[in-house]
Amino acid sequence: MKRHQSIACVCVCVIATAFVGGGASTRIVQPGLSSSHQLGRLEPGNLDGYLRIGEQLGGDAQTDHARDLAMQTLAIGIGLAQRAGNSKLTASMCIALASVEPDSAMASSLWDLAYSIDPDRRWAWVAHREAKTRASAQLRRDAARAVYAVRFNDHQLATELLGKKAVRETIRQTAHQAGLDPVGVDRLLFAMIADASADSCRGRVFVTQRDDGEVRRVVCGDHLRPIGAGPDDESLRQLIKLELGLLDELASPTNRDTWAVSAYLQMDEPVEDMSVSSIVEYYQVDMTKPYWRGDRWTSSP
């Protein structure tokens, strides 16, 4: 009898454990309820709360809406912390926001801002930039190779590389950063590939011709455009600018007589520093509404 009781006890314990464990795993099923509850506790008097809750929401986020909410929380926290003169907390929240931000360029900018605000983050910033460079280096090289292949009428290589979504996305992002129209660049590249596929020379400058037993090299007369150049001067300028951007070479020539390059590449736009106000603008948050009430940000508790 005792044996039976013992077995029954063990079974009950196992079931109870399974139930409890199962119950714990179901908590994340209702993030909305949980996040609303947490957000309701936010108040400007406790700035740490914005960091803690923002980080937690960002980590748990499974939908775009949840991620947006986490980013808004952190963005408001950044503004409030900066207003309070708390540079350490502001920098921490910038880094937390960078970890949630899906756009890698914006994430990098947030890291830059964190380092600008709090110089003690130097090594973390350097490590982030190196990691980012390493992670994207191969992709950027592939994208640059694709542009090169398009220029030199290597139809096969260009098609292969541009067939990758990541390469295309990298090209679009770089074009945007370089001040080019990403859609226009896309269109130009694919138009050039189409031309190259119709070009019987297939990237060759000279072809061999036999004339009365004599072998001669002659210029392949079917080129639609010169090898290595674009359909026109403006297209060539855009392709070079894009390729330099992909190779991180836009700013690198630091020796003499290089400023004319800026004029050729038509890059005279003003330099803009990343600032807290630009974060507030980017995430469209209102610093006068730091409370979360009734599923929206409000100005009063």
């Binding site: 900018s109 830059d112 380092y115 600008s116 110089p119 003690d120 130097r122 930039r129 090289r141 090169y148 030199f152 950063q177 370089a178 400058v205 000279f206 001669r216 090299r217 002659v218 210029v219 007369g221 080129h223 010169p226 090898i227 290595g228 150049a229 001067d233 060539l236 300028r237 070079i240 390729e243 330099l244 190779l247 070479e249 836009l250 700013a251 690198s252 020539p253 630091t254 020796n255 003499r256 007589d257 290089t258 400023w259 004319a260 390059v261 800026s262 004029a263 050729y264 590449l265 890059m267 005279d268 736009e269 003003p270 330099v271 520093d273 990343m274």
Partner: protein, 898 residues
């Protein structure tokens, strides 16, 4: 002692000129007067002259004060003034340089001169705006007052001017003495000097008696406060019984309100008595205070500074004593405060300033202070700044009232100017600053220009000195450069300056067109700048060389800073950058003790900027000639055959697109070593040609790289590359060729940037190394800026943690520069990143080196942030940073004047 005994008190206190007899001489005024304000100012000056005298507390002083006041009272009546002008000579202005004093010898209003002026009117088509402008200019260049000239031209005036001291064309051996034309005067002047004095004393005695009666007895009549009234009697009778000057007849005292004649000393004395007796007779004192205070706020501007300061303290003391009683203090509040309908700015000024002084009293309760703070806000709309000095309180109040003013009413501005004159007393620079602030505000008013603004502008520009050392010049140039300034309003201001200010080197042509474009404004600014800069260098001759360079440098920097607009096109920005950079380098050299180099830099600061070189034309299309050449070359069998072809390249200005491919093939793949070598030579000759670079770039992507190709690429790019067996060879070779191709293609674009880079290379080189770098650029502008940045960072780090520099501030500059460098998108961004770092470091070093400069440095950095945010291009931003560096140098140089 004997000589002193024979001198009258007037001569003793006011000098010989004042003792010539009559009210005009006493006040130092001419017969022709433009306004009553001129009389009040003259009275104010004479009283101040007495207050500064060592015997100012004697009965003689009081006697002369009363005489001065009596004379002013007489002249304030226009009819009586005209009558007195026929009897008494004109006076010599007080404290006017001798060269300005009217003299018959220097008078140019001769019949010939007036004839010329008439011809000018005739040539202008009659009496119209053109004629008026030309006349004004004509008067200016001949050093004659425009009003004087116009007066002489009118038909009735020549007769009067004939008898006038100023306008008489006749000459006299005694030029320093006033002359009187007996044909003009109805009653001739006293025949001898002694009789003159006798008459003057008699007149003064009668006048003083009348004034005392008016001041003292009339208030007593309707005044319940007998003792206070009696005190006024004492003030008047202490020394005023003998000195009143009267011109006799029925004109001894002009009729009018008694308040117009009350002397400031009486008011000051009233407050003194009220403060003393406030404890014993509290309730009646408040009533009396109300009467005297209302008089004071009207008359305060005639108070000399010491009397005004004393009065402020007496009022504060009185209010403090009254604040003990809640009822009485409540009764005081409406007396002290502004009622909101106050239209006189000078009255609002003094009311606000008095409250500031009262609030500085240590014995006031917080509640009392708060109540005073509330009524203070109604006066000027600004927060109270507690101070025990009424003059110190008046300056910020008058500034805020002037800047906040939204009116062009000339009467309002006259009143404001009167208040500012009283508030700033003898501090001309302070007065200039206040008026310039107010004018800045009016110029930015979007309301259209109107006739009232024309009058007000004339009033305002007349207050400001436009001398070479005055900040007004730099201010005006700054207004031209600021897009926020309304062009029609600025046009009116330039007209007022050209015709009414007495500014030198400005003529009637230098008036802005109300519909001028911003570019035309800039051109006129340049005209002003040239005119005034010329005068600065002209003024320099004859002074010491070191001081000469120093002041010349600061003046140049100020001017350049002022005329640098908020937004510029590339050409304007490039010019501003170069001029500012040269000046900054001159300042740097000056600070290093390299005066000779600094002088050279200063002389060349406005020199020409190297012009952009002609763009090169590259054709990247295949022509028939190019195809033919490339086919002949690639199929050539011998080096001699090729030589003839290479000669063609010279005439074709380099290889075409297909020819370049042929050359690369020959240089790397041909079996004949001679052909390879000669093709290689041609490639190196045309290594900057885009066709050659494209052809090389095409072959570096090959899987097998020959040693010949590797060597050729390294030679062309002029840089080290990894070994050709290394996986990264292609990447590095391609990058290097692409960068070189970009630079080559950039030569096809016309741009000022290469010239600008060269100039900045020289300028920043001059700040980093020795003078050899001034003439020989070596490492490029970016490199020189980076070296300067590191040098300054090191300098600042050495003293960091001590006085003036926080390590954290340096770390922030370092981090910001690091971020800007990694975010740089083009070579010029690298320069900008280091240049901003240099600017911020210079700010920190200025705070360290120049005590008290922290606020100024912070303001300049804030202004820089604002300007950078509004810039439309990176070139514009570089100009703004260079401007900020120049501002820091001005602070440094002024703080360490040699």
């Amino acid at each position: 002692m004997a000589s002193r005994a024979t001198r009258s008190p007037i001569v003793e206190f006011l000098g010989e000129d004042a003792g010539a007899g009559g009210p005009f001489a006493l006040l130092g005024l001419p017969h022709e007067m433009i306004s009553d304000e001129q009389i009040i100012r003259a009275c104010h000056r004479r009283l101040y002259q007495i207050d500064r005298h060592r015997h100012r507390s004697t009965p003689d002083a009081s006697e002369v004060r009363l005489a001065v006041h009596a004379a002013a009272s007489q002249l304030l009546d226009p009819k009586l003034r005209a009558e007195l002008a026929r009897r008494w000579p004109a006076g010599m202005p007080v404290a006017v340089p001798k060269a300005w004093k009217p003299s018959q010898q220097t008078s140019r209003l001769t019949p010939g001169f007036i004839q010329k002026a008439k011809l000018l009117i005739a040539a202008s088509g009659g009496w119209n705006a053109t004629a008026r402008k030309r006349l004004a200019h004509f008067a200016r260049v001949n050093r004659v007052g425009a009003l004087e000239l116009i007066g002489a031209l009118s038909p009735q005036m020549p007769q009067e001017s004939a008898g006038s001291v100023v306008l008489s064309p006749k000459t006299s051996p005694e030029v320093d003495k006033p002359r009187f034309d007996e044909q003009v005067y109805l009653i001739g002047p006293p025949p001898t000097r002694s009789f003159d004095w006798f008459a003057a004393y008699g007149l003064l005695l009668v006048l003083a008696t009348v004034v005392v009666l008016v001041m003292v007895f009339l208030p007593i009549r309707g005044d319940p406060m007998d003792r206070a009234g009696a005190s006024s009697v004492r003030v008047g009778t202490d020394g005023g019984g003998q000195a009143a000057a009267s011109v006799g007849g029925n004109h001894s005292v002009p009729t009018g309100d008694w308040k117009e004649r009350t002397h400031y000393t009486a008011i000051a004395h009233e407050f003194d008595q009220l403060a003393r007796r406030a404890q014993s007779d509290m309730e009646p004192s408040v009533e009396r205070f109300g009467q005297v205070y209302s008089k004071f706020v009207v008359e305060w501007s005639v108070f000399p500074a010491p009397a005004l300061e004393r009065t402020g303290l007496h009022i504060a003391e009185f209010v403090r004593r009254m604040s003990g009683s809640e009822v009485l203090f409540k009764a005081l509040l409406p007396i002290l405060g502004c009622d909101g309908t106050q239209r006189s700015p000078s009255q609002a000024m003094i009311r606000a300033a008095v409250i500031d002084v009262v609030r500085s009293e240590p014995g006031l309760s917080p509640q009392t202070r708060a109540q005073l703070g509330v009524i203070r806000k109604r006066c000027s709309g600004s927060e109270s700044r507690e101070t025990s000095s009424i003059l110190q309180a008046l300056v910020p109040v008058s500034e805020i009232i002037g800047v906040d003013a939204r009116t062009d009413d000339p009467a309002w501005w006259r009143d404001w100017i009167q208040g500012v004159r009283a508030a700033t007393f003898e501090d001309e620079s302070q007065r200039t600053r206040l008026v310039l602030s107010a004018m800045s505000s009016r110029l930015r008013d979007p309301a259209p220009s109107n006739p009232s603004w024309i009058q007000s502008a004339i009033e305002l520009v007349s207050v400001v000195p436009w001398r070479a050392d005055s900040p007004a010049r730099a201010w005006l140039l700054g207004q031209f450069a600021d897009p926020a300034v309304s062009t029609p309003r600025l046009a009116v201001l330039t007209e007022a300056i050209a015709t009414h200010s007495g500014a030198q080197q400005v003529n009637a042509q230098m008036v802005l067109n109300p519909s001028a474009t911003f570019s035309q404004r800039q051109q006129l600014a340049e005209t002003y700048r040239s005119a005034w800069t010329g005068s600065v260098s002209g003024a320099k001759s004859g002074s010491k060389p070191g001081t000469d360079q120093f002041s010349g440098l600061i003046n140049e920097m100020r001017l350049r800073v002022s005329i640098t607009p908020t937004q510029m096109d590339q050409q304007q920005a490039s010019r501003a950058i170069v001029e500012l950079a040269r000046l900054n380098t001159a300042a740097w050299q000056f600070a290093q003790g390299q005066d000779a180099i600094a002088a050279d830099m200063l002389d060349g600061a406005k020199g020409k900027i190297a012009s952009a070189s002609d763009p090169e034309q590259f054709v990247l299309t295949a022509s028939q000639r190019d195809s033919k050449w490339s086919q002949q070359a690639i199929n050539a069998q011998s080096a001699s055959e090729l030589s003839a072809l290479f000669a063609q390249l010279v005439s074709d200005d380099g290889p075409g697109i297909n020819s370049a491919h042929a050359l690369v093939f020959l240089a790397t793949l041909h079996a004949d070593s001679k052909i390879r070598a000669s093709a290689r030579t041609q490639i190196i000759r045309y290594q900057d040609h885009p066709s050659v670079l494209l052809a090389l770039d095409r072959v570096v992507a090959n899987k097998r790289i020959s040693s010949r190709l590797e060597e050729l690429v390294v030679t062309v790019v002029g840089d080290k590359l990894p070994s050709r067996t290394d996986e990264s060879w292609y990447l590095f070779a391609h990058k290097a060729l692409l960068v070189r191709l970009t630079r080559s293609l950039s030569r096809s674009v016309e741009s000022d940037l290469p010239a600008l880079e060269h100039e900045l290379d020289l300028a920043y080189g001059g700040r980093v190394v020795t003078q050899s770098a001034l003439t020989q650029p070596t490492d490029g502008a970016v490199d020189h800026t980076a070296r300067l940045y590191r040098k300054m960072m090191l300098d600042a780090s050495v003293t960091a943690g001590g006085v003036g520099i926080e390590l954290h501030d340096l770390a922030k500059i370092q981090s910001a520069t690091d971020v800007r460098l990694v975010r740089a998108k083009r070579p010029i961004d690298g320069f900008f990143a280091y240049q901003r770092g240099v600017c911020e470091l210079l700010g920190i070093l200025t705070q360290r080196d120049i005590p008290g400069s922290s606020l100024r440095v912070d303001d300049l950095l804030t202004e820089l942030e604002d300007r950078l945010g509004r810039s439309g291009s990176v070139i514009d931003q570089i100009a703004q940073v260079e401007r900020c560096i120049a501002q820091f140098w001005i602070v440094r140089l002024e703080g360490r004047s040699p």
